[in-house]
Symmetry: C2
Subunit: 125 residues, 2 copies
């Protein structure tokens, strides 16, 4: 009845390596037309997230550093079989708009966003 993350998520997967610059992140965000960019380690583990909002905050404070100083380290994620009302409650609780989707090996395989969830309402009537 309630859709699952895997039915609603986007599989398009743009990520950035730790150690890149805030400007590199801004370029990927612009090209991908997305707002949230998972950060991965050299061995492909999810170690953070950087968003257009974080970049905007760096502009507000006048300081762009290495990605690692600007990103958020404790990432809230979703799983494939999660019902999307659970996902929507996670987004609301943390005041965030997107979650990287993680498979059972902990690899990032896509994103689910409030835009994706909103699209379900767009399909009605």
């Amino acid at each position: 009845e309630t859709p699952l993350v895997k039915d609603v998520m986007s599989r398009k997967m743009i990520t950035i390596r730790q150690g890149k610059s805030v400007e590199d992140a801004a370029k990927l965000i612009m090209r991908g037309q997305s707002t949230h960019l998972p950060v991965t380690s050299e061995d492909d583990r999810l170690i953070g997230i950087i968003t257009a909002w974080d970049i905007s905050k760096a502009v507000a404070q006048g300081k762009y550093d290495k990605l690692d100083r600007t990103m958020t380290r404790r990432v809230i994620t979703a799983t494939l079989d999660e019902p999307i009302d659970v996902t929507a409650r996670k987004l609301e609780k943390h005041n965030i708009s997107a979650l990287p989707v993680i498979d059972k090996d902990g690899k990032v395989i896509g994103m689910i966003t409030s835009d994706d969830i909103s699209r379900l309402i767009a399909k009605r009537n």
Copy 2:
């Protein structure tokens, strides 16, 4: 049956005057914890919108200008009595995540975002 914009929107209204800088916009976005900032003229008309994504794009291109060169001028808006499936379809069609809400005099009285719409799904079950 279907909720209307006025039942789901946020009435918290942060806007910025044209002529301010991109840094001023970034500070308001950071403090308001929002991502979309309507731009108003001296006489309170809605003349544009600037978002964390636009600021991120300015960083990517290495150029921050006056707000007026970075903002989007043709703003997609919502009205109070609009059913939110109509709103959700506007968001999807234009690939945007938030709409300023306009009263019948054309004044900006709040915002409706995909986060607000997603919250309706959070309330189920």
